[in-house]
Amino acid sequence: MRMPSKLWTAYRLRLKRRRYLFRAFRKRRQLTEVENRTADILPSDILAFATVRNELIRLPHFLDHYRKLGVGHFLFVDNQSDDGTAEYLRQQPDVSLWSTGHSYKAARFGVDWLTWLQVKYGHGHWCLTLDADELLVYPYYESRPLAALTAWLDSTGERSFGAMMLDMYPEGRLDDQTYVAGEDPIDILGWFDSGNYIIHRQPELQNLWVQGGVRARSFFANNPRRAPTLSKTPLVKWNRRFAYVSSTHSILPPDLNHVYDDTGGEKTSGILLHTKFLHTVIEKSREEKLRKEHFAVSSLYDEYYDSIAADPVLWTEKSTRYRNWRQLEAMGLMSKGGWL
């Protein structure tokens, strides 16, 4: 009698997906078009979607990184920045920009807005969905553009590509070094935890729930369940019927979450270098604690924000210095899979 329950789950997930799509449809009015250059998008372009708020300092390197990888067009939603983010993005020739003053949390942490843009512009494209503090690296990324990766995924019949967020941190206190816009943040955030990750398989959405790393070690050692989720599926061959569920951690329909092999083999995967811990994080944590826009029950994370605001040293003797993607691959943090 397993079949009915399986069908039932499938049906419920289908409803859930349609509900998300409908939410995105309703929230489309929250978006104000600022600069629409989407007419420039070519059918073969790889697109990048992001919601940003006061990320001016990160954007020059962010755009630089993804342009080098061959992203054809960027679609941004600006949520009430007051640091010149919107003005900066408007000037970029390959960026389309929308703005909104509505709640990030109420829009499922920005996902509703992006879902709507993906419905409209993402269909048929390989789409990256990112945060401004995420830099994607994947096997051979220095010599092979994203188009090579997506062609490989196409040829192996994959429609999605998984990457784990790797929290990068500096050697001293977070505030010791001041990041200057345009520089590679990894010059400052040169360290990571290489082997303390915890994985659970989510039975319903069939995605892996990865936690661990420096944040679990430093801030959630007594309450690991609450440690931030690190698994993501940021690159998807988009169809207008798809919808991310929570951030890019999981997606519907559920087979897109199968970015891992469960019979012992390894699928090709990447790493999102997470540049959260630049000096700006201290100020931001104070602000986020008050805004309560980042977690469903934000008060549970007050201590977390306080710990970051206290400007801690995350580095230990056992931290690993970041060298290159080959190192991440050899350590088993990401995999070439069968791609050679």
Binding site: A147, G162, D193, L208, A221, K336
Partner: protein
């Protein structure tokens, strides 16, 4: 004497065009078949781009679908045209639009000129080839395949199963012995002409029209009837991934391709500017003019397929998360678990480290915190000593520890006082070497000054936990290397089992253990057990201990380190 190329082209026309130009300019005629799916405008531009070359010709276009007769049809059309239009070609080389010459054309010409009668075509009987997509080898020739494998996989599979069920079989024409091999061949004019002008060809064509993937078998089979000298290998380097799809070469393969000394490689990523600009030259300086040597590439590709299919044992990550029993190795290296030893011997961890080296931890699963070697609070890979983090997913903790310390043997203590969730995982792990002295947990209780009611309760609880643990270790599903002694047995003669364990950990050590660990003072232990019994508890896991101090002596005599000859 010269070599002519026939080329099947369907995409990346600009690249195909420059490769064709390269060959034509080097004095090799080229006949190109352009897939009918290419739009007329693109086709016209392509033809126009090569119109200045009089030794490039285009044959009639057909709609080519992978795995079907249309591929062979296009090949035959191009071959016939090449033989007729370029009578001076001695060898015909079959290539595709995504092929790239790796060595100067003059080297290929010289190579073929010195082997004027040799046909280079991979050709093996169906019994002898391991590469079979969809589990089909000889059945490629004996079943019918009216449904497209790419477009209608379901119908394809069902129809194959149906034919198997009813025992359907087509007859292979007499004289033919089905052979398979890479479709990228290089045949002599004589052989190719003989194949194409065979009086029985209509029969053969009718047969091959319904064979699955005939481009890998048509010429491979027919040359066996006509060739004088077959060299069963392809001059084109072409590798396949785990799904049987051709592997693609990128810019970063430049050195690898160069070292292969092969004449032609496929498929090349159309945007691989560096490869195209480096290899489309006839500069002899870059190669060594030797036999093609794809061995190294073969090994690397075999590894990639292995990585995709089997992965790295003991690694759990976000793109490798095997189901239970599919791990192909639950952990990545051997490790040793000691139960009861540190209760029974003074400074056992120090002793063990001296005896075997590696890393000797305390109780990794201690309920208060993880006791890493050297009292570290953060261990390799950033593992925390937080018990809460560890107990959140003990498997992840242990597999990470073993993964993070690859190359260094890990030993740790375990006992009924520890968090027990991990015990089943360890018992099922072939990499675990588990040595248990049962009942030794009673020694710390015996030494403690707690009130006896508490001790009695504690002893009962620990005994229950250890009994359950032993049951897991003794289960028929257990795969770990397990050794169990009762405490009474062990202290009778501790050196022999210790030597056995140490030899197992460091087989090359060969040294006899010079020093035994020091046994704790057990004077009065028998009486202690008797007291427990008197309180209604039944301590049995430690074995038979006599009551009374005099009987203690025989067992616990070696209280000082002693030497073994």
């Amino acid at each position: 004497m010269s070599v002519g190329f026939i080329m099947l082209v369907h995409a990346a026309l600009d690249r195909a065009s420059s490769v064709a130009r390269h060959w034509a300019n080097s004095g090799c005629p080229v006949v190109i078949h352009v897939d009918a799916k290419v739009s007329d405008a693109d086709h016209a531009a392509f033809v126009d781009g090569l119109s200045d070359l009089d030794n490039v010709k285009f044959c009639a276009r057909t709609d080519v679908e992978w795995g079907t007769w249309s591929v062979v049809k296009a090949t035959i059309a191009a071959s016939e045209m090449a033989l007729e239009a370029f009578p001076h070609t001695h060898h015909i080389y079959f290539a595709s639009g995504s092929c790239l010459p790796l060595r100067p054309v003059q080297e290929l010409k010289a190579y073929l000129a010195s082997r004027p009668r040799t046909d280079f075509i991979e050709s093996a009987t169906t019994d002898d080839v391991p590469w079979t997509i969809g589990g089909l080898d000889s059945e490629r020739f004996t079943l019918r395949f009216p449904f497209s494998w790419k477009k209608h996989r379901y119908l394809f599979d069902r129809y194959v199963r149906f034919q198997r069920k009813i025992g359907f079989k087509r007859r292979v024409p007499a004289k033919l012995v089905p052979h398979l091999g890479s479709q990228w061949w290089c045949l002599t004019r004589q052989t190719l002409t003989a194949v194409l002008q065979d009086p029985d060809r209509p029969t053969y064509d009718r047969f091959f029209r319904r064979v699955w993937i005939p481009d890998e078998s048509y010429f491979q089979t027919l040359v066996r009837l006509h060739s004088q000298s077959i060299e069963s290998r392809s001059l084109t380097l072409s590798k396949f991934d785990f799904q049987g799809k051709p592997h693609i070469f990128y810019d970063d393969h430049l050195q690898l391709l160069r070292r292969s000394d092969c004449f032609v490689a496929r498929k090349i990523w159309p945007q691989a500017d560096k490869l195209y600009s480096s290899f489309l030259s006839n500069d002899p300086a870059v190669t060594k003019n030797t036999e093609p040597n794809p061995g190294q590439i073969d090994r690397i590709f075999t590894k990639a397929v292995e990585r995709r299919k089997k992965g790295r044992p003991g690694l759990y990550m976000h793109s490798r998360f095997p189901k239970e029993e599919w791990e192909n190795g639950k952990t990545c290296a051997r490790y040793s678990v000691f139960e009861g030893f540190s209760d029974l011997f003074e400074n056992f961890e120090t002793w063990l480290f001296k005896a075997v080296g590696g890393r000797v931890h305390g109780h990794l699963f201690h309920p208060d915190s993880v006791q890493f070697a050297g009292g570290e609070t953060i261990y390799n890979g950033g593992l925390s000593n937080s018990a809460a983090l560890r107990d959140y997913e003990p498997k992840a903790f242990l597999t990470s520890l073993i993964w993070n310390t690859r190359g260094e043997r890990q030993c740790f203590q375990f006992g009924p006082g520890d968090a027990q969730q991990i015990s089943k995982f360890m018992a099922m792990d072939t990499n675990a070497q588990i040595s248990v002295i049962t009942g030794a947990w009673a020694v710390p209780l015996f030494k403690s000054s707690d009130n006896f009611a508490y001790i009695r309760r504690e002893a009962a609880a620990l005994q229950k936990i250890e009994a359950k643990h032993l049951q897991i270790l003794r289960s028929t599903h257990a795969k770990a290397q397990v050794r169990v002694w009762t405490m009474a047995d062990f202290i009778q003669n501790p050196m022999e089992p210790l030597q056995e364990i140490v030899d197992d950990i460091a087989p090359r050590g060969q040294h006899r253990l010079a020093e035994a660990p020091q046994l704790v003072n057990l004077d009065g232990f028998g009486q202690f057990l008797q007291n427990l019994k008197n309180q209604g508890m039944h301590p049995y896991l430690m074995g038979d201990f006599p009551v009374g101090d005099d009987l203690q002596a025989s067992a616990a005599k070696p209280q000082r380190p002693y030497l073994v000859k």
